[in-house]
Symmetry: C2
Subunit: 367 residues, 2 copies
């Protein structure tokens, strides 16, 4: 079919007289004081965003960005260095910082600062495909959607691996599927923190599995998607090493984990199913059936589950308000126990499930 | 070969004691006043960037970004809406603006704000491949490197088409190559302003060529890379339509073109080869042989050519300084005419060439 993307509308011959353009530009032109108008729009938007941040719980987005204000004088410059970051010393420092954090020698690392996790996955998986052109991509079913998108974009065969209840890749399933495809190299995506449950894949076990299946060093490539926990994991490994990140930074990390344990405990006490992975700051709950509730707390949902993520902007007060709201609304949704909430045993394990079969199953003020 | 990307260095079992980390973090930790230290770094960097902007001539980068300072209060918010922009009204307004500019009806356009031209090309060409899975990609040899990168990333067969002296796609060559590949659909990348010369491909002629070669509407897709001139072209079509963009905006555009004609004329008067395409703000020159000169004026080069781009931050004073510097240095490089500068007839046409065969050929103070 004929498809012409946006810019193609610039057609020299048949260009109309621009009447429609007047609509949008007239507003700008006739605004008595354009600067006042702009200031009002920006202030309103700022107020709106500030209000919204106070109940933003369900995405891996840190809204505690006040420190970025120090960088505002740089907004008026264009500081992107297209090309290889090793050609400009001011950018090497970012990679140095991460190299030291992750204990990688200078001549053993290369990279650039992407616009986000999706671009990081694209780049990492593309490198794998360029090295092993006919390789098959293996990734767990709980991987970020960008991994599956990359497979389609880069025309790679993608083999989906089952997960454990924690969200971690199931190495028994991986082994079976590797054995079925021994004739092709393996490009493996691992998760250092899955999007939904914060599950961490076991790199050692994956390498052992590859070796046991007969994949030699030159026939596999591993990309780790560490968008969720990559920056936190090195500190967790050495939680008494105060010299590493500095006291303030570490306090901030510890705060997240304190909050998570509050967040897991309180709802359980009220009979709400929840799960917190070891060393994770993601708590998984049963999915609230009310779209308004989901929208207000900015929750993301998958199947029967939702999750709350203790990013640095999240306060104990916000979590307490959330839990109270959840408990109160839940009594309405499930008519104080007349209706049973869904069972999450399959998704988060029987030990975390509070349904009538696996757990206490009751609502706080229910029957 | 075994390749494990950065994040894989998080290894639970063999994690060293973090001595190396101390190096980088110790500086932060023991800095007497961290905020002062940070302020000094930022101020120095700002001064460095301000100085550099005063002789930044060779890239399509607008350094006149003071208006962005109005947006600085928003730096402390995360306002990216992952997903479809049509799901959030605050982002639709950007697309509305462009839709009206390019005369596209609301139900005929879709898009999102990319991080730059490269991502725009990736998205546009990927859509083409998804619609016409076995299509061949046609693009002129003067296309941006991201187009060739996309072909490799997305595993598309890429057929490179010759260009005219202006940088525009050569439709005779396109016709020949389309005829050789009639059995496959055509995915065509066109340039609304080539990177180096600012050449604009003729969309009407390309569509006519496709039709003449027997490609029906359902067997071709056209992506236009309008990163250079897409925003300016609609205004050029109606340069007396003051109501369209507003006086200030239009003055700014006109300023660019005034500057370009100064920039083309002055060097020619001094016997320097140069070319300015119709309605373009890119002037092509012979490549200076001195790397220091290239670095100082931030020029980009290709073969025997360099170019200067009259972005909004470029002043007449900057251009005059550049031309004077060029003329003066050129006398040194070519020893006042003892050495002949390279002939650019092939690259920019004989009428623009000032070499000893095609033009005046002399240096300003030469023989």
């Amino acid at each position: 079919m004929t498809k012409i993307s946006n810019a193609a509308a610039i057609d020299k011959k048949d260009y109309p007289n621009g009447n429609k353009k007047k609509d949008i530009f007239a507003i700008e032109e006739f605004c008595a004081d354009r600067q006042d108008f702009l200031t009002k729009i920006l202030t309103d938007f700022e107020d709106h965003l500030t209000e919204k941040a106070g109940h933003f719980l369900g995405y891996h987005v840190n809204l505690d960005l006040n420190h970025l204000m120090d960088l505002s004088p740089l907004l008026r410059f264009h500081i992107n260095n297209a090309g290889d970051p090793f050609k400009d010393s001011s950018f090497i420092s970012v990679l140095d910082w991460f190299g030291q954090l992750w204990e990688i020698e200078k001549d053993e690392c290369w990279g650039y600062v992407t616009n986000g996790g999706t671009e990081g996955n694209f780049q990492g998986l593309l490198l794998g495909r360029e090295l092993l052109a006919d390789g098959k991509l293996y990734t767990s079913r709980e991987s970020h959607y960008s991994v599956f998108k990359a497979a389609r974009m880069f025309r790679m065969d993608c083999i989906i691996i089952r997960t454990l209840t924690t969200g971690e890749i199931d190495c028994n399933d991986l082994r079976e599927k590797l054995c079925l495809n021994k004739d092709k190299p393996a490009i493996i995506n691992l998760n250092i923190g899955t999007t939904f449950k914060g599950g961490v894949d076991n790199l050692d076990l994956v390498i052992k599995t590859l070796e046991e299946c007969g994949f030699s060093n030159d026939r596999f490539y591993i990309h780790c998607d560490a968008a969720l926990s990559g920056l936190i994991s090195p500190f967790l490994e050495q939680l008494l090493s105060l010299n590493v990140k500095g006291r303030l930074g570490l306090q901030q990390d510890v705060k997240c984990f304190d909050e998570c344990s509050i967040l897991e405990r309180s709802p359980k006490d009220a009979g709400i199913e929840s799960m917190l992975n070891e060393m994770s700051f993601v708590v998984v709950f049963e999915r609230p059936p009310n779209p308004e509730f989901i929208k207000y707390w900015n929750l993301s949902c998958e199947g029967n589950m939702t999750h709350v993520i203790a990013m640095p902007h999240v306060t104990v007060k916000m979590l307490e308000d959330f839990v109270n709201d959840f408990v109160q609304e839940r009594n309405i949704w499930y008519q104080c126990g007349q209706i049973q909430p869904p069972c999450l045993a399959k998704e988060i394990g029987t030990s975390n499930c509070c349904c009538s079969i696996h757990g206490k199953g009751g609502l706080q003020n229910g029957n």
